[in-house]
C-alpha cells in the first residue's frame, strides 16, 4: 500500500519534471531546455545600471500617444503625449499646450495614433524627429527626439481615417498622409448612396522644412474613391516614387466586409511624386478653399500657437499623365512595403495565403512599353503578370506587414495564422516561421523600413493577449514579442505588454539619440512671456477679472506662497517658472478644485495652469512631484474673497 503510494508519487514527480522541461521550449539540437531559456534570458537581461542597445517607439493606438521602450529589455521608459490630453505632464491641459489639440472641429483632445516613422537622411535613420499620424481626425505630428515632446501637429483637410500615413521619403522631403475613407471633396450634403465616382481619396504630401522640421502641405492628390490602407516610399533606386495599397476598389459604401471583398484583385497605386512636385513647382494644381489647423510648439517660449490655414493645393491625376499607375494586387492588400534596395514592393493580401511581390524594374519597363490592362478613372492599370516579380507561397494565412533585415531576408506577419514568416527576397523561399501570441498585426525591426536596417531584434505586436500575462479583468494590454533574428532561425526571446494598441513602431540604435537628449531647458533662453528670471521677480498682477501669478519654484518652496486679494469669479493664471537648472528635477503644481490636470514643469521651463475659484475660503496648492527631501513642505495658500470684496492683491514668502 505504502509502496504503491510511493510509486504513484514518483510517477507524478517525474512527469512533472518532464513536463516542466518540455514547457520551456523545444530544442532541435538536443540541448537541455534549461540551457535555451537561460540563453534567451541572457540576451534580454539588461543588468541594473546597464542600458539598452536600442530604442523602440511603439504606437499607442487608441491611447493617442507614443510609448518609448528599450530593446532588448522591453522596459517602458516614457509615454510621449501626442494627440491626447495627458495629465501626467499637463499636455493639452496647460494653457501653453492646449493649442496643440486645436482642429477645424475645435479642441479635439484624443486621436488614434498609428504609424510612427523616424526621419531619414539618404535613406538611413537620422534620429532628429519621429512622425506619427492621428487616424480619426486626420492629423500628422512631429515629435522631437531631443526633447521627446510633440512639436508640431498639422491637420489634413479633405481626408478621413488618416491611415496610410505617416511615412517619410528617404531624405525626409515629405511626410505622406493617405486617407483610408474616401469622402466628398469638398465636403457637402449629398446622399451616401452616390458614393461611387463622387467620393475622393486624398493623398497628401507634406513638405518637411529641413532645418527645423516645420510642416507645410505641398499638394494633395485627389485619387479615386478607394480605401488607401498603407503606404511606403520608394528608396534608393525607387526614390521619387510612393506606393499605396488600396482596398474597396469596388467603391462600396455599406457592408464593406462583403462588398469590398468582391474583386479578386485590388491595387497598389504607384505615385511618381517627383513628377507631381515638378508639376506643382511649375505652377500646376488648383488652390482650393479649405480650413485646417496648423499647431506649432516653440521650445523657446514653451508655448504652442494654432493657426487656421485656408487653402490647399490639389492635383487631379489626369493633370499629370505618366505620374500615377495602378498595380493589380490580390485580395485587399494591407501592408505595402519596399525592400532596402528599392527593387521590391510587397503587397500583403490580407485575405490571402500568399504575398505578392512587384518589381520596380518590371514596373518601369511596363510603363515604358505602355502595356496597360485598362484604366480606372483615367489612371492606367498595369498588367499583373508584367509587374509581378514573384509570390511567396507562405503556407500562412492573412499576411499583413513586412520588414527587412538588410541581409536579403524579409519578415512578414500573418494575422490569422498568428506567426512571423522569414523568407528570402528573390527566391521567395520560406526560411523559418515562428508563432506569435496571438494574432500579430505589425512587426518592427529597428531601421527595418529604411535602406539600412539594424537587424538584430524583431518586435512582433499582437492584437490578442488572452493568457499571456496574469489576468486583469476583461481588458488586457496588448502583447509584444521580441525575436533574435541574427541566426538562420528566429528565436523568441521575450514577451512584454504594451500600452494602448501598437499598430506599428519605429526603432533605432541608442547611440543615435543618447547624445542629443536634452537634460534641462536653459533659463537664459526662456522666452515665455510670463517667465521670470529669478524668484525675486515673482509678482501677482490683477488685470480686470484676470489674475496673473508670476510664480517661481525652487527646492523646496513656491515664490510667493501666500496670495491674497483673489475673488470668486476671477480667472487665476499660475505662470510657473521652474528655476532649477538641474537634470531630472521637475516641480509640479496643482490647487484644490482645479478643473484641469496638474502641470509638471521641467527645469528652466514655464507652464501655466488656469484656476477659476468658485468658493470663498483659503485654498492650498502644492508641488505634485516628489522633488526633494522637503517636498512635503512645498505648499502655499490662496485666499479667495467674495466677488464684492475690495481687498487688494498682495503676496509674500517667509514673512
Amino acid at each position: 500500500m505504502k509502496s504503491t503510494r510511493i510509486f504513484i508519487g514518483a510517477a507524478i514527480m517525474l512527469s512533472f519534471l518532464f513536463a516542466s522541461c518540455g514547457n520551456q521550449g523545444a530544442s532541435d539540437s538536443g540541448k537541455g531546455k534549461g540551457a535555451l531559456v537561460s540563453s534567451a534570458a541572457e540576451k534580454v537581461y539588461v543588468a541594473p545600471g546597464e542600458r539598452d542597445e536600442q530604442y523602440a517607439f511603439l504606437s499607442g493606438g487608441y491611447s493617442g500617444n507614443l510609448t518609448v521602450y528599450g530593446l532588448p529589455s522591453g522596459r517602458l521608459f516614457k509615454e510621449i503625449p501626442v494627440f491626447s490630453q495627458f495629465p501626467t505632464s499637463g499636455y493639452g491641459y496647460s494653457e501653453e499646450t492646449k493649442p496643440m489639440l486645436n482642429t477645424s472641429f475645435g479642441f479635439v483632445p484624443w486621436d488614434d495614433l498609428h504609424h510612427p516613422d523616424i526621419s531619414q537622411t539618404n535613406g538611413e535613420l537620422d534620429g532628429r524627429w519621429i512622425f506619427a499620424n492621428g487616424n480619426n481626425t486626420p492629423r500628422i505630428a512631429r515629435i522631437s527626439l531631443s526633447t521627446f515632446e510633440t512639436e508640431e501637429i498639422m491637420e489634413i483637410p479633405n481626408s478621413a481615417g488618416n491611415h496610410s500615413s505617416s511615412f517619410i521619403t528617404e531624405n525626409t522631403e515629405y511626410v505622406v498622409a493617405g486617407t483610408r475613407f474616401s469622402v466628398p471633396v469638398p465636403q457637402r450634403d449629398m446622399p451616401i448612396s452616390e458614393y461611387k465616382s463622387n467620393f475622393k481619396g486624398a493623398l497628401t504630401f507634406i513638405e518637411v522644412e529641413p532645418e527645423h522640421g516645420h510642416l507645410d502641405i505641398k499638394f494633395q492628390l485627389l485619387m479615386p474613391g478607394f480605401n488607401y490602407d498603407l503606404s511606403h516610399p520608394g528608396r534608393d533606386k525607387s526614390h521619387g516614387w510612393f506606393f499605396f495599397s488600396t482596398y474597396n476598389t469596388e467603391e462600396a459604401n455599406t457592408l464593406l466586409e462583403v462588398n469590398a471583398s468582391q474583386n479578386d484583385k485590388d491595387f497598389i497605386a504607384a505615385i511618381n511624386w517627383k513628377k507631381i512636385e515638378e508639376y506643382v513647382n511649375n505652377g500646376g494644381g488648383t488652390k482650393m478653399p479649405a480650413n485646417y489647423a496648423h499647431n506649432v510648439y516653440d521650445e523657446a517660449t514653451h508655448s504652442a500657437t494654432s493657426t487656421m490655414k485656408k487653402e490647399v493645393l490639389v492635383v487631379n491625376p489626369s493633370e499629370v499623365p505618366g505620374a500615377i499607375f495602378l498595380l493589380p494586387t490580390p485580395k485587399s492588400p494591407h501592408g505595402c512595403d519596399v525592400d532596402p534596395t528599392g527593387q521590391y514592393i510587397i503587397g500583403s493580401g490580407k485575405l490571402s495565403a500568399d504575398l505578392t511581390v512587384h518589381s520596380f524594374d518590371k514596373m518601369l519597363d511596363a510603363i515604358a512599353g505602355e502595356k496597360f490592362d485598362g484604366e480606372a478613372y483615367g489612371i492606367p492599370i498595369l498588367k499583373f503578370e508584367d509587374v509581378m516579380a514573384g509570390q511567396v507561397k507562405s503556407g500562412g494565412l492573412g499576411p499583413l506587414h513586412t520588414e527587412f533585415d538588410g541581409k536579403g531576408n524579409a519578415y512578414t506577419t500573418f494575422f490569422i495564422s498568428s506567426e512571423v514568416v522569414k523568407w528570402k527576397l528573390g527566391t521567395w523561399e520560406v526560411i523559418d516561421r515562428q508563432p506569435t501570441f496571438y494574432s500579430v498585426g505589425h512587426l518592427m525591426i529597428p531601421g527595418g523600413n529604411s535602406r539600412k536596417p539594424h537587424g538584430k531584434y524583431l518586435v512582433a505586436m499582437n492584437k490578442i493577449t488572452k493568457d499571456r500575462y496574469l489576468p486583469t479583468g476583461p481588458e488586457m494590454e496588448h502583447s509584444a514579442q521580441i525575436y533574435d533574428i541574427t541566426g538562420e532561425k528566429m528565436e523568441l526571446l521575450y514577451d512584454f505588454p504594451t500600452h494602448g494598441e501598437p499598430h506599428y513602431a519605429a526603432g533605432c540604435d541608442a547611440d543615435l539619440l543618447v547624445q542629443n537628449s536634452k537634460k534641462i531647458y536653459r533659463l537664459d533662453e526662456n522666452k515665455h512671456p510670463y517667465a521670470i528670471n529669478s524668484p525675486a521677480e515673482a509678482k501677482v498682477v490683477r488685470e480686470g477679472k484676470e489674475v496673473h501669478i508670476y510664480m517661481s519654484t525652487i527646492r523646496s518652496h513656491f515664490t510667493p506662497d501666500n496670495i491674497e486679494g483673489v475673488k470668486v469669479g476671477d480667472k487665476v493664471y499660475f505662470h510657473i517658472t521652474n528655476h532649477e537648472q538641474d537634470f531630472d528635477v521637475p516641480h509640479g503644481f496643482s490647487i484644490i478644485g482645479a478643473g484641469t490636470s496638474e502641470i509638471l514643469v521641467m527645469p528652466g521651463q514655464t507652464k501655466t495652469s488656469l484656476w477659476e475659484p468658485e468658493k470663498v475660503g483659503v485654498w492650498p496648492f502644492y508641488c505634485t512631484d516628489f522633488c526633494s527631501a522637503l517636498h512635503q513642505e512645498m505648499q502655499g495658500y490662496v485666499r479667495v474673497s467674495p466677488a464684492s470684496s475690495d481687498l487688494e492683491i498682495s503676496w509674500s514668502l517667509g514673512d
Binding site: K2, S3, I6, F7, G9, A10, M13, L14, L17, F18, S20, C21, Q24, G32, K33, G34, A35, V37, S38, A41, E42, Y45, A47, P48, G49, K519, I520, I554, R555, S556, E580, Q581, D582, F583, V585, P603, C627, S628, A629, L630, G654
Partner: protein, 190 residues
Amino acid sequence: MKKRAIWTVALIAAIFTSACQPAASDDTQASEATSEESLDKTSGQAFVEDEVSNPNILQIAVGSADHSTLVAAVQAADLENALVNAGPLMVFAPVNEAFDALPEGTVESLLKPENKDDLANILKYHVTPGNYSKEFLKKFKKLGQANDQSVAVEVKGDDVYVGGAKIIATVKASNGIIHVVDAVMLPSNN
C-alpha cells in the same frame, strides 16, 4: 524495498533537476557579480555624466582649491552620492585652514578607514536639509543636522556663526547652498 524506491526517485529527480537547470549556476554568478558592482565606488548619482546642469554641491567643492581637505574627507567617508542628492542641502564647508587648525594628527587619524564612522558623523554635522541664505539664517536659534544632532546659530553684528564657525562666503548650488566657514564644527560626543 521501500527505501530503494525512494532513493531511485530521488536520484532520477536529481538528474532531471540538474538537466533542466544548468542556468542556475550562471544565475548565481550573475547575481554575485551584480552585488559586487553595486559596491563599486564609481556608481551612483555622483557619477552621472551631465555637463549641462548647473553644478551641484559636490562639483563646486571639488572645483574649489580652498576645500581640498574637505573633499578628501567626503571621499574617505563615501559621502559623494549624498552631496549630489536632490536635497535641498545646506552645507557648511570648512576651508583647508580650518582643518589645519585642528590639533596635530586629527585629520590624518580621521582619514583612516577604521575611523570612517567618526569622520562621517563629523561631516554630516556640517549638513542641514534645507536651503537658507545667510540673511535668512539669522531667524534661527539652532539647526537640525544630518547626523541627528542640533547645532546652535548665533548672530554677532552682521556675522552669522553656526556651531562656532563663522560664515565667510556663500555659493549657490543646483541642489542647495554652500556656506563657507572658517572652522570645523565638532559635534558633542553624545
